[in-house]
C-alpha cells in the first residue's frame, strides 16, 4: 500500500509540474501585458502537433522538437502581438476576451483543416519508457517535462532578474505609463513578451506530446487547465504556476486513489472554488489580480 501511495503521489507531482508547464505561458503574458489569453490552449495544441509530426516523420527527440516548437511559436506570438493583440491592450477586458476567444476558435479551425479531427497518439518510444528507483517506477516523459518546467522557470526568472531586457519587462509589468515616460520601448517589450509566452505554450505542447494525443479539440481542455492552475497559484506568478500545477496534480491523484478516479477532475474544480473563496488572488498572486 505504501508503494502504491508513493507511486501515486510521485505521479501527481510529475503531472502537476506538467500542468505548471502548460500554464506558464498564460501567466507570463498576463503578468506583463495584463491580457487574458483564451487562445492559450490552441497554442499549446500547435506545439503538440509539432511534437507529433517531428516524431512521426524524423523520429526527432521530444526535447529537440520542443525547442523547435518554441522557436516557431515565438515568431507566431511576436507577429500576433504586433498585428492584433497590441490594438486591444488598452481596451476593456470584455473586448479582449472576445478577441482571444475568436483567436482560439480560428486556431482550432486552422488545426481542423490542416490536421483533421482525429486524435493522433504519439508514436514516440518515450511514451512507453520508465526508469526505476528501487520499487518506484518513474514515467520518463513526465520526468522530462517536469525537469524542463523547472529549468524553464529558473531560466525565465534569471532572465527577468539579471538581464537589462528583463528589467525592462518588469518595469513594463509594474507601470506601463511610467515605462513609456522614461523611454522604455513598451510596444517592443510587449511583442517579445507575448512571443515568449507563446513560445512557452508551443514548447510545453511539444514536450507533452508523448503524454497526450494531438487533436484540435484539446484546446478548450488546455485553456481551462491553465486557468485553473494559474488561478490557484496566482495570476502572473511563475512560482504560482508551478505550485498551482503541483497542487492540482497531487489533489487529482489523491482524489483518484482515495475516492474515485472519475471524480478527480471534479476535485480540481472544487479546489479552484475553495481558493477563490478563501484567497481570491491565489497562492502567489499580487493584490488586485
Amino acid at each position: 500500500m505504501a508503494l502504491l501511495w508513493a507511486n501515486v503521489i510521485l505521479s501527481g507531482v510529475l503531472m502537476g509540474l506538467v500542468y505548471g508547464l502548460i500554464a506558464l505561458g498564460l501567466t507570463i503574458i498576463f503578468g506583463v501585458i495584463r491580457v487574458v489569453n483564451f487562445a492559450h490552449g490552441a497554442l499549446v495544441v500547435f506545439g503538440l502537433y509539432v511534437g507529433y509530426f517531428t516524431g512521426l516523420w524524423w523520429g526527432m527527440p521530444t526535447i529537440v522538437a520542443a525547442l523547435i516548437a518554441g522557436a516557431l511559436m515565438f515568431v507566431l506570438g511576436y507577429c500576433l502581438e504586433i498585428l492584433i493583440v497590441k490594438r486591444f491592450v488598452t481596451r476593456p477586458h470584455h473586448v479582449q476576451f472576445i478577441v482571444f476567444i475568436g483567436l482560439s476558435l480560428l486556431f482550432t479551425g486552422v488545426q481542423l483543416i490542416s490536421f483533421g479531427p482525429d486524435p493522433r497518439p504519439s508514436v514516440s518510444q518515450l511514451s512507453f519508457e520508465t526508469i526505476t528507483f528501487g520499487s518506484i517506477r518513474v514515467d520518463l516523459a513526465r520526468l522530462q517535462a517536469a525537469g524542463a518546467t523547472t529549468v524553464l522557470i529558473l531560466a525565465l526568472a534569471a532572465f527577468l532578474k539579471y538581464s537589462s531586457f528583463g528589467r525592462f519587462i518588469r518595469a513594463a509589468a509594474d507601470n506601463r505609463l511610467g515605462g513609456l515616460i522614461v523611454g522604455i520601448p513598451i510596444p517592443r517589450i510587449y511583442a517579445i513578451t507575448f512571443g515568449i509566452g507563446t513560445a512557452c505554450a508551443g514548447f510545453s505542447g511539444a514536450l507533452i506530446s508523448p503524454l497526450f494525443d494531438a487533436q484540435p479539440y484539446l484546446a478548450v481542455d488546455f485553456t481551462l487547465l491553465a486557468f485553473v492552475t494559474v488561478i490557484v497559484g496566482g495570476l502572473g506568478s511563475f512560482v504560482g504556476a508551478l505550485i498551482g500545477g503541483l497542487t492540482i496534480g497531487v489533489t487529482e491523484a489523491v482524489a483518484a486513489l482515495l475516492i474515485a478516479p472519475s471524480m478527480k477532475t471534479a476535485f480540481s474544480y472544487g479546489l479552484l472554488i475553495l481558493v477563490l473563496i478563501l484567497r481570491p488572488r491565489g497562492f502567489f498572486g499580487a493584490k488586485g489580480t
Binding site: P119, V123, S127, F128, L211, D213, Q215, D221, A260, P261
Partner: protein, 409 residues
C-alpha cells in the same frame, strides 16, 4: 384484301396487342423500381470519438454504393456530426429530418443515440442503430428504434460465455481480474452488465475491484496503479480506443503484465489506431464485439472494395456495422417500395434478413426494436491485426495465452 392470317388476327391486331402488352408491362416495371431514399447518418465524426466515427462514415458510404448494386436502391446519404457530444444527437437528427431524410442511421455513442431518438420519435422517422449498446436505447419505449447492435447486457453475457469456454481450455487460467471502465452511459451500463452476467455465467475468476474513470481523462496512471495494486492477475477493460491506448501504455510503464487483457464491450483491439499507437505492445489483448464474418460469401469482395476506396484504412467493426445498417435500410425500402418514413418503419418491423457482412444470425427486430439474433465474435490482437479466435466455425487463429510480458517484446 382477304384476311389470310386467320379470322380476326390482322397485322393491326398484332401491332395493337403488342402496344397493349408493352403498355401493360411498363407501369408494372415502373412500380417495381425501388424509390430513391434520403438517409441521415449521425456519427461522432470529430472530437474524442472521431476514430470510430469516421470509420462508421466510411462504412455508411460504402454500404450505400453496395446497396445500389445489390438492391437497386439509390440511397442519398446526408452526414451529420455529433462532435462526440451526446447532447448533439438530437440537434443532428432534427437537422437531418428538416433536410428531408426519411430514415436515420446512428449514432455510435449510446448517449448521442438516445438524444437523437428523441427527435426521431417526435418526427416519427425510423432510426436504425448500427452501434450503441446501452440497454436504455430499446428500453425507454421508443417506437422508431431498430437496433442492429446487441444490448450491453447481451454483449457481455455472450462474451462471458465465450470467455468461460476459452478459460476452460487454458493452462493456468487467470484467477482474478480488475475491471477498469468508462464512467459514461455505455461504460456504466456495461459495468452493471458485467456485474450481473459474471455471476450468471459463473466465471471462475474473482473480480477484485471496479475502477470507473472519466471519459475525458488525460491520464490513467492512478487508475492502472489501482488495478495493479488490487492484486488482480488480469484486466477487464471497457474503453474507447484512445483510453485503450492509454491503459496499455500505463501497463507497460508500470511494469504490469496481466495474463489477459479482455474488453467484453468496447473499443481498442478492433481499431487500426490501437495498433499504430502501440506497435509491438498491442498484441495479446482480447475483445468481443460484433465483427465481420470472414467466411461470409460477400466478405472478400467487400473488403477488397473497401481497401480500394479507402487506402490505408481497415474494414473494422465500426465500418462493418454501419455497412450492415445501410443494407437493413435498403432491404426495408425495397420491401416497402416507398421512401416514406411510415412505410419504411412498417417494413423494418417485418425485417427478416441474412446479414451480408457481419457475423450474426438472421436480423429480426422484437417489439422493442432490438435485433434478437445478434452474435458475438472474440478477437485477439495478433501480429498487429485483430484476428477472429471464436466462434470456432469462423475462427482465423487460435488464442495466444498468456499475453507475452511487455518488457520481453
Amino acid at each position: 384484301m382477304r384476311n389470310v392470317t386467320g379470322k380476326g388476327l390482322t397485322r393491326r391486331t398484332v401491332l395493337g396487342g403488342s402496344f397493349g402488352l408493352a403498355a401493360g408491362l411498363m407501369p408494372w416495371r415502373a412500380d417495381a423500381a425501388p424509390p430513391n431514399v434520403k438517409v441521415g447518418s449521425i456519427m461522432p465524426s470529430s472530437g474524442v470519438l472521431a476514430f470510430p466515427g469516421q470509420s462508421c462514415v466510411r462504412g455508411i458510404d460504402l454500404g450505400a454504393r453496395f446497396a445500389k448494386d445489390r438492391f437497386g436502391v439509390e440511397i442519398e446519404i446526408v452526414h451529420a456530426d455529433t462532435q462526440s457530444k451526446p447532447e448533439n444527437g438530437r440537434i443532428a437528427a432534427d437537422s437531418l429530418i428538416r433536410q428531408g431524410c426519411t430514415v436515420l442511421i446512428g449514432a455510435w455513442d449510446s448517449g448521442a443515440t438516445i438524444s437523437a431518438l428523441q427527435a426521431a420519435e417526435a418526427a416519427r422517422v425510423p432510426m436504425v442503430v448500427h452501434i450503441a449498446s446501452a440497454t436504455q436505447v430499446t428500453s425507454q419505449g421508443f417506437t422508431q428504434v431498430f437496433r442492429f447492435y446487441p444490448t450491453s447486457l447481451t454483449v457481455v453475457r455472450k462474451s462471458l460465455v465465450e470467455f468461460k469456454t476459452m478459460l476452460a481450455g487454458l493452462d493456468k487460467p487467470p484467477q482474478s481480474a480488475a475491471v477498469l471502465h468508462l464512467n459514461n452511459t455505455m461504460g456504466q451500463s456495461t459495468a452493471a452488465s458485467i456485474d450481473q452476467a459474471w455471476k450468471e455465467a459463473d466465471v471462475p475468476v474473482k473480480i477484485t475491484e471496479y475502477i470507473p474513470y472519466d471519459e475525458k481523462a488525460r491520464d490513467l496512471s492512478v487508475e492502472v496503479a489501482k488495478a495493479k495494486a488490487s492484486g488482480a492477475d488480469s484486466l477487464i477493460s471497457v474503453t474507447r480506443v484512445n483510453d485503450a491506448i492509454m491503459v496499455t501504455r500505463e501497463c507497460v510503464k508500470q511494469g504490469w503484465n496481466p495474463r489477459i487483457i479482455f474488453t467484453p464491450n468496447g473499443n481498442g483491439v478492433q481499431d487500426k489506431a490501437y495498433y499504430e499507437a502501440l506497435g509491438k505492445y498491442a498484441d495479446g489483448a482480447l475483445a468481443s464485439t460484433m465483427y465481420y464474418n470472414p467466411r461470409a460469401p460477400d466478405t472478400e469482395a467487400i473488403i477488397k472494395k473497401f481497401e480500394t476506396d479507402y487506402p490505408n484504412q481497415w474494414l473494422d467493426a465500426n465500418s462493418g456495422c454501419a455497412f450492415e445498417a445501410v443494407q437493413i435500410v435498403a432491404d426495408a425500402v425495397v420491401r416497402a417500395n416507398s421512401s416514406a418514413s411510415a412505410d419504411i418503419h412498417a417494413a423494418l418491423k417485418q425485417t427478416d434478413m441474412t446479414p451480408i457482412l457481419m457475423n450474426s444470425g438472421r436480423i429480426k427486430f422484437d417489439e422493442n426494436g432490438q435485433n434478437i439474433n445478434s452474435a458475438i465474435t472474440l478477437l485477439q490482437a495478433q501480429k498487429g491485426k485483430p484476428r477472429v479466435i471464436a466462434p470456432l466455425d469462423i475462427a482465423e487463429a487460435s488464442i495466444q495465452y498468456p499475453i507475452q510480458p511487455f518488457e520481453a517484446r
